[in-house]
Symmetry: C2
Subunit: 211 residues, 2 copies
DNA sequence: TCAATATTGAACGGTCGCGTTTAATTGTAC
DNA sequence: GTACAATTAAACGCGACCGTTCAATATTGA
């Protein structure tokens, strides 16, 4: 195959325009929904002809898929638990809980989840892609943190994956649900949930002196 | 006002047909989504003329609202923690956790939640109605159970509302999320989550001998 | 029987938006 | 310059479907 280096003749497709289309599509799809978005409006927002959109993505669903893929790609950058804060295990858990909650309760994230969930019935692959790019990746990273803490003798955790789920779930509590259904969630409630999650988690998993 | 008993003259509206319309609408809306549902199809499914639909509900959104209302009404019947199972507090929590999880993870419920969440942006009142009919009602009932258990000396719970959220959240874990995004959830995982939730909950809140 | 309302079937106007076609233009490689 | 492909603007066919109107029929209370 000599096609690897060989360039195609003729005018190359404009990747800048392509990116602009994807971005405009993501905004429209995740703000207004799939059915309520029109390709013509997306093309206009991207400063591009409608035909160009069809040349690049072929279809409305194809464009939607590209927008989801792009958004998932952005998400993957946000799970670097590299800068581990120092401090007691209680303090570290609190910081992590706050960071996760802040990340997950951004309005854009709420809307994005709503849309992905709604479209998952028609296209199960979309839901899978989201789970892998977001929640499952997050769970794995946090599980690794817990295992490390256990090796340091701070925690005693029989099932780190389960414990990770428990902590994250408690931090979210019903705040997650309430936001998804449009109810306001106060800062106090969120703080209380995170503090409560840390307490319960430690009373179940902390080793001796760290309790 | 003498209008209370006074019947309107002329042919009365057919409440049987009205119910049939609402049921057909609910099926279509929660299966296919709001935008993808057509009033003509709903009318045909209900064995009714399109004009009748407009006479009863005026609008497509009006019909959607009626369908949501009806579905919420059905939901309210499902929260009777009356038949409290006997047994240790550990056994009772397990039974409750299993019942809640079974109720919440029914495919119809998953789809219903997806649709309501998607339509909540346009009509926040819809999300509020759902929260009040479902999650908040459930939380209140379970909080009452916890308070009762505390009065019986089985638990020591400083904040019953928070504890209720924590238990339910742990039972759901990520299974909730995974189902919403189309991933299969095994029976083993669910059982493990519930058992784990009971253990963690009791290690945090159980009094002396019940631990 | 009469008056008032509900229901039906059909048809219509209008809007919206997808996906396609065409002809002309612009950009890149050779 | 020439060949080739991407981009554009405009227009079109087409289907779906909302909401309305109208005439005819059915059902109730007085």
């Amino acid at each position: 195959m000599s096609t690897a280096i060989r360039k195609k003749p003729g005018r190359p497709s404009d990747q800048v325009k392509r990116a602009a289309i994807v971005e405009a599509a993501a905004r429209s799809f995740f703000d207004a929904g799939f059915a309520a978005s029109s390709i013509e409006q997306i093309a206009a927002d991207a400063g591009v002809s409608k035909v160009t959109v069809y040349n690049h993505f072929g279809d409305k669903r194809g464009l939607f898929g590209a927008a989801v893929e792009s958004e998932c790609e952005k998400m993957r950058g946000h799970f670097s638990l590299d800068e581990m804060p120092a401090g007691s295990i209680r303090e570290r858990l609190t910081v992590i809980g706050e960071a996760m909650f802040a990340f997950l309760s951004r309005p854009e994230m709420i809307q994005f989840e709503r849309r992905i969930a709604a479209e998952t019935e028609d296209e199960p692959a979309i839901g899978q892609a989201f789970l892998q790019a977001g929640p499952w990746r997050m769970k794995q990273a946090f599980s690794a943190f817990l295992i490390h803490a256990e090796q340091c003798g701070e925690l005693a955790i029989p099932d780190p994956a389960l414990a990770a789920e428990q902590f994250v779930s408690m931090c979210k509590g019903m705040g997650d649900l309430e936001q998804r259904f449009g109810a306001p969630v106060s800062q106090e409630d969120s703080a209380k949930r995170i503090a409560g999650a840390v307490e319960v988690f430690l009373s179940a998993y902390a080793k001796g002196r760290h309790r």
